[in-house]
Point group: C2
Chain length 367, copies 2
């Protein structure tokens, strides 16, 4: 190869370039182009998998490999006007469910160029919308995912549309267009759980509600009521008490139900934290579980396996929902060749996990 010394128009002909690139300095696309004997643009084409002649592509790829070149995401983000980031907006960053969801998202993007940014926001704040808008404006992410209870606000979705930001809302019911939502069949699975409970002979079933501001709480309660009606059992409002999805509220709710004149033989709590609280209330009263009282929860959070007795619960596939949400959000980067975004489901099935805390109703007590 006889290199033809073209007149180097480059600005740095004799002023800056002379020093042979500091070892620590970042490699750029220009270095790769020079090494491969092609232009910047050609390297860029390779990076973006644009159609091109196989021989040229191979040459460039070899150069990238040899030099150990890693493209600069900031520069790409600037040129593309899009950051290679997914933002996850959460309300309560302590929730184990939010963490599981996050893990699902991370697993979906693990092999891609995407990064995940987590942004906790305060649902109560009057500046909520403005905060989200600022964050989106700053980050210009590929998309945003909203977890409950944020996902239940239609104004957030509308804002994203106005800002032209892709988003997915996650919840316990369809909250938006199919392509923008991922949900689980909370209502139906609760109905099935209660059917199982009734099949074991229970007739007095306590229910601990979640906070009414959460769609999941309302769905689970609706499923409970439906199941009772289907089973021909009366809906006894005295057996339904309020909770806030917290362990402490579960303890109080359990106390209220167990100290009542006619306590239930089984208590369904709308999430596992509250079920753990009910379990504590039962232990405090010296009850033997599940002989004296059965308890059922929802979520399948880590506590469910670790308490005594282990909790019969509904496995809420939140990690799977996280992966699904990510794939729906950025299908062009996360789907394989044969996959089509339109084929991705929007609903995932929760399943019942039988463990120790649900037993048969005592013979004497039933009816």
């Amino acid at each position: 190869m006889d290199e033809k010394r073209k007149a180097p128009k480059l600005r740095d002909t004799a002023t800056v370039v002379p020093l042979p690139r500091k070892p620590g300095a970042a490699l750029t696309i220009t270095d790769v182009a020079e090494f491969a004997g092609v232009s910047k643009k050609t390297v860029s084409r390779v990076l973006n998998r644009e159609p091109m002649k196989a021989a040229t592509r191979a040459k460039v790829e070899a150069a990238i490999e040899t030099l150990g070149f890693v493209p600069n995401v900031q520069a790409r983000a600037l040129a593309f006007r899009k950051n290679f980031v997914i933002v996850l907006f959460i309300h309560d960053s302590t929730s184990p469910m939010a963490m599981k969801f996050q893990r699902g998202v991370l697993s979906a993007i693990a092999d891609s160029e995407l990064a995940l940014a987590v942004r906790p926001v305060d649902r109560e704040s009057p500046d909520l919308l403005a905060d989200i808008e600022t964050f989106l404006g700053r980050q210009k992410p590929m998309g945003a995912i909203f977890l409950p209870p944020l996902s239940e606000r239609d104004d957030i979705g509308e804002m994203c549309q106005r800002l032209n930001v892709r988003y997915v809302r996650v919840g316990s019911a369809p909250l938006d267009m199919m392509s923008r939502s991922v949900w689980s069949n909370d209502r139906d699975v609760v109905t099935a759980v209660v059917r199982d409970i009734v099949a074991r002979g229970h007739r007095r079933i306590g229910f601990v509600r979640g906070p009414s501001g959460f769609r999941s709480a309302r769905e689970r309660e609706a499923g409970f009521r439906q199941a009772l009606q289907a089973a021909g059992l009366p809906v006894d409002e005295a057996l339904m008490v309020d909770g806030h999805y917290s362990f402490e509220s579960g303890v109080s709710a359990g106390a209220a139900l167990l100290d009542a004149p006619h306590p239930p033989t089984v208590i369904f709590a709308s999430n596992d934290s509250m079920a753990a609280g009910v379990t504590r209330a039962a232990h405090q009263r010296g009850l033997s579980l599940p002989r004296d009282l059965s308890i059922v929860g929802f979520d399948d959070n880590p506590v469910a396996q670790q308490i005594w007795p282990s909790l019969t619960t509904v496995h809420w596939p939140i990690a799977e929902m996280g992966a699904l949400a990510a794939r729906k959000l950025v299908p062009d980067m996360l789907l394989g060749a044969g996959e089509d975004a339109a084929d991705l489901p929007s609903m995932v099935e929760s399943t019942i996990i039988p463990r120790e805390s649900l037993g048969d109703a005592k013979q004497g007590k039933s009816e």
Copy 2:
């Protein structure tokens, strides 16, 4: 047309610019400069809080406010050669402790321009170092935080220094220079815990180890041994069993200890998950807690309060460590005016949380 079509270098002079900026398009620093009647650079100075005349600053700030300008982080990142991001490298994204740590980091950066990127990596992978290097090369973050067990590898620290990336290593002992590490006094607090246990009359103390690959496990064991010696008690290797920091390993360890000929009257587990496992093993054997067996854990993870009986444990202030790590990593952005990075502590104190699972040794059994 007498336009010279051979060399239309300034093609946009009269063709593109005229249109008055599409409403949806992003505002730039140029718009602000024009509005305020100053130059780009002056606006940049305001954004970067460089010293300047108060009147000019006020004028520019008013313009920013009026226009609702939000600077483009990608462009800044490109120009600065630094991304406004902190990366958190974790090995096990399911660990509740990692999640608490993450929350601490998020709270520290909540009001700043920083974002947090979470990157799970596989400690076992032979490509671990390369993976981290690639991620750092791509993201060019302000800094990186490593959690155990990643933080215990010196080669990762060396790599960061080579790449000129700031980092903080988090652990249960000083792992690096003060300015690059945050640690807790695991050994000392375990010693204190065992002193309390002994003070309650216990003489046969079981110990469940953590995985030997974790520095925290080794420190906690060292603290345990020290305390026994200080109390003049023999170190009975038969009362020390292995665990892997998992619930299941706690169940096995508990079973091994309780089924032995001379079971201990109290078991100290090196973390709460294993303590919960021991608790389960005890329940399975029909023991009444803490009458027949006391149990003590370490971490104060969410399960500790929710199991029965609630677990006496060591509160490992991991969220606080997260906030501290972030502040040490990027002090210039996260510290207030009066604060100095040199004043930030490196060690945080763990504290003992008395709950229900530690009781006095039975009269008959002691000695």
